[in-house]
């Protein structure tokens, strides 16, 4: 029983989710009813009822309900309420089953067998089975797919059903992180009709049914009465508003017209926190901001130049000024502290104009003039960050010319095109996912056009490695290589900062994405 007490303390401290506690307690022999009541005494029980009104700083009239084209927080949160995935990243950061009940893998990490949960109904009354899962996966694959998830699901060689309740994925190469990948918000499970999806139907298995959807304006959701998760979806309904202007969002929260908002204006967060009805919540996840140099373009072909620039930025000052302290310094690699294999013992790179000068000299230069492209579309405050960088680098004899690019078209016109530009990464839940998205040689989003032999080799080896200790070592090495030889300056990891009415209750917030890993609507409740 000592263990059980320990879990209770963890639950009360928010280190364990209610679900996980009940699972662990029942595993220790407690009955579900007992475990639930214990959980209830450790935490005030979630109350049912009310309508949650969310103000989201994204959302466009061109949004669509097709999960394959979800591209902003607005649709991600709506999707988080209406759809389920096979797996889910819990608020603790652990991967837990969702529509899959359990899974199994062959030792080469190539063949993954998922057992599906039985008796789950879609909003249209259809019972979920393997054909729905296969159609939902195939929606992202194939020649005609326009899904943003096509690249991450590309490793799938074949997906087939083994009866109504089992799905078998065969991968082209082993991937130990595959269950993580299919927790992605694009990979929602929708009902199939004759083996095909209607991706715009908005029908899922999630806790909320889409009642009224006006793209870029508002979405009305009402509780799914047949939701299979008994301890989720506490609100009777939810209204999700797209409020792109941050001041408008803040005003709406202050005047009580919404109950929660994302992306609090960092400049005024301390003023908002003075409001007695509002709390500021933040989580430190994988979201990070970078300055990507094209290593195939002069002068960034020379690693000495790259190192000079990496030493010429004052990360602490950027975190303090641009993030107003709502974040942590980066170490020139994209792996965040909440990742499983973050290299904690890797020495933190600091601002050192002398070292920057030294590296310039190594490159045979005494001064340097480079253009840095930025726009606030890259990340909020990117232009200001570039201006600060310019001031820091001047002390090392480096003249950075800040070029403000138009917000409009930034991702097609500047990113991957200009030699050096500011970039935003939402981050990925696993190391392999992050590295193979933007650092492996030849992948489309390798924005530094970087090709490092040893890096590429270890990356592939680590992917199929099921032994945790070995993987940890491999990812440590990869982080060090990127830090010392990569083309990217990673000055900071930005927290997800949210403003929430004190009427709203929640457990520990998930750090994988904003608004409790996009799942606030089904996880939160009113006091």
């Amino acid at each position: 029983m000592r263990e059980l007490d320990h879990y209770r303390t963890m639950l009360a401290a928010g280190k364990l989710s209610r679900r996980r506690f009940v699972q662990l307690a029942t595993a220790l022999g407690a009955s579900t009813a007992l475990a639930t009541s214990m959980a209830g005494s450790a935490l005030a029980a979630p109350k049912k009822g009310g309508t949650l009104r969310l103000g989201i700083g994204h959302g466009s009239t061109t949004d669509s309900l097709d999960p394959g084209t979800f591209e902003n927080l607005y649709m991600q949160v709506v999707g988080g309420a209406a759809y389920n995935k096979l797996t889910e990243v819990a608020n603790s950061g652990d991967l837990v089953p969702e529509l899959a009940e359990s899974w199994d893998v062959t030792p080469d990490a190539k063949v993954w067998t998922f057992k599906l949960r039985q008796g789950v109904e879609f909003h249209n009354g259809k019972t979920m089975d393997s054909s729905d899962v296969i159609a939902s996966i195939n929606h992202h694959l194939g020649e005609d797919s326009k899904s943003a998830a096509k690249a991450i699901l590309d490793p799938i060689a074949e997906v087939k059903a083994d009866g109504k309740n089992t799905v078998v994925f065969t991968l082209k190469t082993g991937n130990a992180d595959f269950p993580f990948i299919i927790s992605d918000y694009h990979v929602a499970i929708l009902p199939a009709k004759d083996g095909k999806l209607d991706p715009l139907s908005g029908v899922g298995t999630g806790g909320y049914v889409i009642d009224n959807y006006e793209p870029g304006v508002r979405t009305a959701l009402k509780r799914n009465p047949n939701y299979w998760k008994g301890d989720r979806a506490h609100f009777d309904g939810a209204e999700v508003l797209a409020i792109v202007d941050v001041a408008a969002r803040t005003n709406a929260l202050t005047t009580g017209e919404i109950d929660a908002m994302d992306r609090v204006d960092l400049k005024t967060a301390h003023l908002l926190a003075r409001n007695p009805n509002i709390k500021i919540e933040e989580v430190s996840g994988t979201q990070h901001y970078t300055f990507a140099m094209r290593t195939d373009t002069d002068p960034f072909t020379d690693n000495n130049i790259r190192l000079a620039l990496k030493h010429a930025i004052d990360r602490e000052a950027l975190v303090k000024t641009i993030l107003r302290g709502h974040g942590v310094v980066g170490n020139d690699h994209p792996i965040g502290r909440s990742n499983r294999f973050h290299a904690d013992d890797l020495e933190q790179r600091t601002y050192d104009p002398e070292k920057a000068k030294f590296h310039l000299k190594q490159a045979g230069l005494s001064s340097l003039k480079v253009d840095l492209s930025a726009a606030d579309a890259a990340f909020p405050g990117a232009v200001d960050a570039a201006v600060l960088y310019k001031e820091h680098a001047a002390k090392a004899g480096i003249n950075i010319n800040v070029v403000r690019e138009p917000n409009d078209g930034y991702w097609s016109n500047v990113w991957l095109k200009k030699p050096w530009c500011a970039v935003y990464w939402g981050g990925r839940p696993t190391e392999d996912w992050m590295f193979s998205t933007a650092y492996a040689a030849g992948v489309p989003w390798n924005d530094t056009y970087w090709n490092h032999e040893r890096f590429n080799q270890v990356l592939v080896e680590a992917r199929a490695e099921l032994d945790e200790a070995k993987r940890r070592q491999m990812y440590f090495e990869l982080q060090k290589i990127v830090r010392d030889q990569g083309g990217v300056v990673v000055p900071m990891f930005a927290n997800y900062v949210m403003g929430i009415s004190k009427k709203v209750q929640h457990e520990k917030l998930g750090a994988n994405w904003s608004l409790d890993g996009f799942r606030c609507i089904e996880r939160w409740w009113f006091a």
Partner: protein, 277 residues
């Protein structure tokens, strides 16, 4: 010169106030580097310091001296606004008067051309062009000037339409005067007052337009200081009753009021009304 002083001394107090404001602004704009206590984009302290001994007006969102930014802002903002407005009036005024004087197909053609330009929402038009060409200051001036000139054209045309049909214009035509003579001697002087009133307003609209562009992320290249972008950068603070964003907005407002006071005085002078006070 003597005449000038005499003229100024006869001006009403509001006009003198306006003139002083303009003079001070022009002086500040010309001698910005000498007047400003720090460099234009120099980071001198922590961000959002309140005003005090060291920084009279405090610091901005990056820890730059607010007073310095305002002083440099005067230089950039006024220069750009002035160039833009002059260009807009040159284009719009000339074509507007030409349209009414010549009439016929010239009027039709110019009128339809302006219709097309005006029928496309300004902000969108600017967004299209600036995204394609990039936002360097000459392009910015040209784009805003062309967009503004359509408004000037319409006004100039509307005002002069009433004048063209007056007898003295008819007489000049019958005398066989050339078009330019008619425009510059007969029509322009008589349509001046509303155009001048418009000039004062258009001048100030340029700041606002730059500010609206910075709302869309197109505006002046950083770290150049301009009041429009400065208002935008600090605007969220106003929600909490902080006064920092009021400084650049106040600078624009003061200049707007000053310029328009002088315009009013000019309007009063040219209208030829006898002072009936």
């Amino acid at each position: 010169m003597g005449n000038f002083w005499k003229l100024v001394r006869s001006a009403p107090p509001t006009a003198i106030f306006g003139l002083i404001v303009i003079a001070v602004y022009v002086f500040v704009a010309l001698f910005a580097p000498l007047l400003a206590p720090y460099g234009e984009s120099e980071i001198v302290g922590p961000e959002f310091l309140p005003g005090g001994d060291e920084f009279i007006l405090g610091t901005d969102n990056l820890g730059r001296d607010m007073l310095t930014r305002l002083i440099y802002g005067a230089r950039n903002t006024i220069g750009i606004a002035f160039a833009t407005t002059c260009l807009a009036f040159l284009i719009g005024g000339v074509f507007g008067l030409l349209a009414t004087t010549l009439g016929g197909w010239v009027d039709q053609l110019l009128g339809r051309l302006v219709d097309v330009l005006m029928a496309i929402p300004t902000l969108i038009f600017a967004l299209l062009i600036l995204t394609i060409t990039g936002t360097s200051i000459p392009v910015l001036i040209l784009v805003i000037a062309i967009l503004d000139s359509t408004r000037v054209f319409r006004l100039a045309r509307a005002v002069s339409m009433n004048i063209v049909v007056l007898d003295f214009v008819e007489a000049a035509r019958l005398r066989g005067e050339r078009t330019w003579w008619i425009i510059s001697r007969e029509i322009l002087p008589n349509s001046m007052p509303p155009l001048v009133a418009e000039f004062g307003l258009r001048f100030c609209f340029v700041f606002l337009f730059i500010s609206a562009l910075s709302f869309l992320g197109l505006g002046i290249q950083p770290p150049t200081a301009d009041w429009g972008s400065m208002v935008r950068d600090n605007a969220t603070l106003i929600t909490f009753g902080e006064t920092t964003p009021l400084l650049p907005a106040g600078a624009i407002a003061l200049l707007t009021v000053g310029v328009n006071f002088v315009v009013d005085w000019f309007l009063h002078k040219t209208s030829g009304i006898r002072d009936d006070k």
